[in-house]
């Protein structure tokens, strides 16, 4: 539970103080009130139990994502690190599809 999982911000809802964040193609809604700097689409954040705890530099995110990517691809369901990564992603609810995505889906 000390693990944070990086994801990329695709949209920010300023009113609700949440961001839609992409984790391996899965879009989740992450709360922003713990993060100490504003985030914008394209930024990477570290998600812990459904909260962005830090905005992180893209090179850090990409490096960590590559490792996790390998783990998720190679490891079985019993693997502890993989379980931790999955539960960190499960901690955030699915993001409501944006109007644009709904439009794309209907095409």
């Amino acid at each position: 539970m000390c693990l944070g999982v990086p994801g990329q911000v695709v949209a920010v809802d300023r009113d609700r103080n949440t961001a839609t964040v992409d984790f391996w193609g899965v879009k989740k809604e992450v709360r922003l009130e713990v993060c100490d700097v504003p985030v914008a689409p394209g930024d990477y954040i570290l998600n812990h139990v459904g909260f962005a705890i830090r905005r992180i530099p893209p090179d850090e995110a990409i490096e960590t994502l590559a490792l996790y990517d390998e783990l998720l691809r190679l490891a079985d369901d019993q693997d502890l690190i993989t379980q931790d990564i999955r539960s960190e992603i499960d901690a955030a609810p699915y993001a409501a599809p944006s109007a644009r995505e709904a439009y794309d889906a209907s095409e």
Partner: protein, 382 residues
């Protein structure tokens, strides 16, 4: 000797750098004026990386890298579990992180209570617990575990006007004070600490400065990738050899000296540190995080009269008395020193908390092996 072979198998994306770091470790340990050199990390995710990637097999023989009390679920003390179990058996609905369900209390765990008909929900986040409370009129207690990183999330929810039927039974813990306790234990002979990178994104590396001053032991903040762990250890060994007691940040990509000040403000607005027992370790002054009086109406302990005495009339299971979790978390024993490990005590039938949690030393060693059999890695296990 297996190191070079082993490292090649480790799925490092940069085996050359890994080998260079490994060689540096070997050199530093051989130059130390004593042997073995013992260092401690305090994070389940560090142990997962060390065990999964077989790092311990690649460490120099005279380097002991010990996992300390780095598993928040494991150090949740028996009376804290009893409080949750007693409430559940009183008919109060409980939500908690999954690992907490099987942590043994005096005579029962939350999972036992659930099997007896109590209403216990597993959640992945405190937000999900609040959502459960919003969907019902009944009382919903969130049995909260985790170190400061996770406590910040609980704090954020409590300042966000949760529903009246929501309350928090806090078993949150604060890591810096327990490092003081372990550093003072004469049996452990710890010469330096590796601190957890993601927790330090919030607290900042400065949180360890007072510790270093008081104990004259170096602390290096390190990330979780195998190369980060190796690089952190190299820096720590350099400081130990030079006799330099200071805090170093070997994870500057994510961690600053000050940390996330906003998150710290949130944490301390909601929680106050107070002394309490950590399972198997000791009484830890300022090691427990409890709700401040301003948040009393969300404090389960203020809201309910919790009577756990009924749980004490049963004798604890016999095997528990042989469990060595406490010594293992204090760095005095290894899982393989315990006669129950892998026999009576397995992930399916855990006797102690260290076998329950995915961050527990015993659970991790059982999964990956403490000194993994590297022949299995050659068969392509990640």
């Amino acid at each position: 000797m297996l190191p070079n072979d082993a490292l090649a198998q480790l799925k490092f994306r940069d085996p050359v750098r890994a080998r260079a770091l490994r060689d540096a470790l070997e050199r530093l340990v051989s130059r130390a004026d004593h042997a073995p050199v013992s260092v401690m990390h305090v994070c389940g995710s560090h142990e997962q990386a060390i065990a999964k990637f077989g790092l311990r097999a690649a460490f120099p023989a005279d380097l002991r890298v010990i996992m300390g009390p780095g598993c928040p679920v494991c150090v949740t003390d028996v009376p804290e579990v009893d409080e949750a179990v007693a409430l559940a058996k009183q008919g109060v609905r409980i939500a908690s992180y999954g690992d907490m369900l099987r942590v043994p209390g005096t005579s029962q765990s939350l999972a036992d209570a659930k099997a007896d008909g109590a209403h216990v929900d597993v959640v992945y986040s405190v937000t999900q617990a609040v959502d459960l409370a919003r969907d019902t009129d009944e009382e919903l207690v969130f049995f909260a575990s985790g170190f400061e990183t996770t406590a910040v999330a609980t704090a954020a929810v409590l300042v966000d006007d949760p529903p009246d039927n929501f309350s928090v039974l806090s078993a949150h813990k604060y890591i810096p004070p327990v490092m003081e306790i372990v550093a003072e234990m004469p049996e452990t002979k710890i010469e330096g600490f590796l601190a957890a990178g993601h927790a330090a994104t919030i607290t900042g590396s400065a949180v360890f400065e007072k510790f270093v001053e008081r104990h004259r032991l170096p602390v290096v903040v390190a990330g979780f990738e195998p190369l980060d762990v190796l690089a952190g250890l190299v820096r720590l060994l350099e400081l130990i050899n030079a006799g330099e007691a200071k805090v170093e940040n070997a994870y500057p990509r994510c961690v600053t000296r000050e940390g996330n000040a906003h998150a710290q403000e949130l944490l301390w607005r909601v929680f106050r540190p107070t002394g309490g027992r950590w399972r198997g370790i000791a009484h830890v002054p300022n090691g427990n995080l409890r709700l401040r009086d301003e948040f009393a109406r969300y404090d389960t302990r203020k809201r309910f009269t919790i009577d756990a005495s009924a749980l004490w009339s049963y004798a604890p299971p016999k095997l528990v008395q042989q469990c060595q979790c406490g010594d293992i978390m204090a760095g005095i024993a290894s899982p393989s020193d315990c006669s129950l490990f892998g026999k009576e005590c397995t992930p399916d039938t855990p006797v102690g908390a260290c076998m329950v949690s995915a961050e527990g030393t015993c659970r991790i060693w059982h999964q990956y092996g403490g000194h993994p059999d590297l022949s299995s890695m050659k068969r392509g296990v990640a």
